[in-house]
């Protein structure tokens, strides 16, 4: 068990370093000169040169990487070139928004996806199965931003039921917060629900054919116990693993969905940062979400391990 965790952590370290290198190299690919952007209307070469000096923009790349990496480890992720805020503060201020959206979306995804997957596996080959598959296929095929726009048009504009966009902190008003989160959570959640449904379905179909399910039936257990205890407990492993990875993806920020609903999370932060050539913020967001993704991968591995008695004992 501990050997397993140790091994996983050991693998995570070079992966994280690789991410940091890639994140740092990202700025080479971005067009435009940050010093020029920062100078704004000022075109005096001396001022621009001073800005270059101040932000180490004249140093060789490897030195710049060293500076940057040292900063990352000491909690100095740089200053946003645009609004002079520390990148770490900026990230921390957006984290609760993205976290809340991710959790709500995941709840939607699990409720719809796992239930639909269970039903379609148990009722394999029937209209229920067919219906669930059609919905899942639609869920995967329909782009998030389109579904978002359609929801805004119908629910907000035509029926006036929910606010079209924006964000209110739950600390201010929980009900107002939820009103604004319902649609984006639904948009993100249904897309993942489709994936979860497919995974639950195939895992359940496999489990239902297992010998131990026949044994459970031979014991005279009710079909409910056979399905929900014996089969589902074994189907749970791939479902949980997949769910954790999807949650990691959600935490990386939903660029299009946050844009459509103007939710100030990581997705919107990175888009704004890219448009403003705000390197430090772009790097910060990518590094942070990359790390989160690796952590979620690690958790997925850990859950896989914990749910599997054959590995655990």
């Amino acid at each position: 068990m501990f050997a397993f965790i140790f091994r996983r952590v050991l693998i995570a370290v070079p992966t994280l370093l690789l991410i940091s290198l890639m994140v740092f190299s990202l700025q080479l690919l971005l067009p435009g000169d940050p010093a020029l952007a920062l100078a704004g209307e000022e075109r005096d070469p001396a001022v621009i040169e001073a800005i270059r000096e101040q932000y180490h923009l004249n140093d060789p790349m490897i030195v710049q990487y060293g500076h940057w990496l040292a900063g990352v480890f000491t909690g100095d992720w740089g200053i946003s070139l645009r609004n002079q805020m520390a990148v770490t503060d900026l990230l921390l201020s957006k984290l609760p928004v993205t976290l809340e959206l991710a959790i709500l979306a995941m709840l939607v995804a699990l409720a719809i996806g796992v239930t639909a997957g269970l039903v379609s596996a148990v009722k394999k080959g029937t209209r229920w199965d067919f219906g669930a598959n059609v919905i899942a296929l639609s869920g995967i095929s329909i782009p998030n931003f389109w579904l978002g726009i359609m929801l805004i048009l119908l629910v907000s504009v035509r029926w006036g039921l929910l606010p079209a966009s924006g964000y209110t902190s739950p600390l201010e008003s929980v009900s107002r917060n939820l009103e604004m989160m319902v649609m984006p959570a639904l948009v993100l959640g249904t897309a993942i629900a489709a994936i979860m449904m497919r995974h639950t379905r195939s895992a359940m179909i496999q489990a239902m054919q297992a010998d131990y399910v026949r044994t459970a039936r031979a014991k005279g257990l009710s079909e409910r116990v056979v399905i929900l205890k014996h089969a589902f407990r074994n189907a749970l492993v791939p479902v949980v693993t997949m769910g954790t990875l999807q949650f990691g993806e959600l935490l990386s920020g939903a660029v299009l969905t946050e844009q459509v609903f103007t939710i100030p999370g990581f997705g919107k932060l990175i888009v704004d940062a890219v448009f403003n050539r705000d390197y430090a913020v772009v790097q910060g967001v990518v590094l942070f979400t990359g790390t989160v993704f690796i952590v979620m991968n690690f958790i997925a591995d850990l859950l896989y391990f914990l749910l599997n008695p054959r590995l655990r004992t």
């Binding site: 297992a210 010998d211 131990y212 026949r214 044994t215 459970a216 039936r217 031979a218 014991k219 005279g220 257990l221 009710s222 116990v225 014996h230 407990r233 074994n234 749910l307 008695p309 054959r310 004992t313």
Partner: protein, 358 residues
Amino acid sequence: MTIILAQHDQAPARTKRSDAMNDNVLTVEGLKVGFRTDKGRFSILDGVDFTLRRGRTLCLVGESGCGKSVTALSIMGLLAENAEILGGSARLNQHELIGLDRHALRRLRGDAMAMIFQEPMTSLNPAFTIGNQLIEGIRQHSDLEGAAAREHAIEMLKRVRIPAAEQRMGEYPHQLSGGMRQRVMIAMALANDPGLLIADEPTTALDVTIQAQILQLIRRLQHDSGTAVLMITHDLGVVAEVGDDVAVMYAGRIVERGSVTALFDDPLHPYTIGLLSSIPRLDDTLTRLSTIPGSVPTPAEMPRGCRFSTRCPFADQHCREEVPPLAAVGNDKEHVVACWKAPIEHCEECSESREVMA
């Protein structure tokens, strides 16, 4: 503890096991089962008949695909979804099982009748402990709860000779060997003292040394409890070891049935004769091991008459056209055979082919 056990042992026994009036635990008559596939419907079982008495072991013998397991699963009501029972009857203590609604059937499964399977490695749920899976079955069919159910589960593990029973309760199936897992399966099956135990090739997947242990265990437990055992096997060695009676199946029909001694001493059906002569003998290193030529016809090309006629050296036009009934040909009325030519020793036109067989 002993009090609980005693109650549990005696109370259901009177109701579950057959009355003194009638000793037949299981009566199967004319059982017909078919499969629906993309290519159409196929008959798998075509009129299977046998009876099984209390405390006795009936072996259902035949090669793969002859319908042994389908017979067992039909009785248990565990047939695959694409299979359907087309006719016939299976009565457990005079209660008809065929056509019984699934709730009533569920109450009988694991209680009045239980089953163990061929693959001990996959028949236990890998995600739950041995104790959990044992107690679950006990609670389903008895009033035992909590500590009492647990005690009974441990008692069952002890009864199937599992060492350190209490410790095993908390272990997972993967921590046990194949033989131990099959013991757990037996403990689970017998936990509610069933009148009928169906064992579907329970030793096929096990090491030879373990096979004998498991067979002896089933025999001993049966002796203690009076449970009737329907033993499904393709291994005539198993039949000789545990069987009282034997029914030989071929392509969905019983071709010969009788006591084990009668059948081994005087096999009547050409297929049975072929099966018996294909057993390797240690004391005979000179003659080539005999095999039955040809293979079982597919459901699509099943002959109208005797289904063995395509491989039988004695078969003639009559055999191919008319289905032979199961009937006694000698003094032993219990020893029946479905063959127009039986007994072959008395069949005059068979003399040439007899040379071939010998």
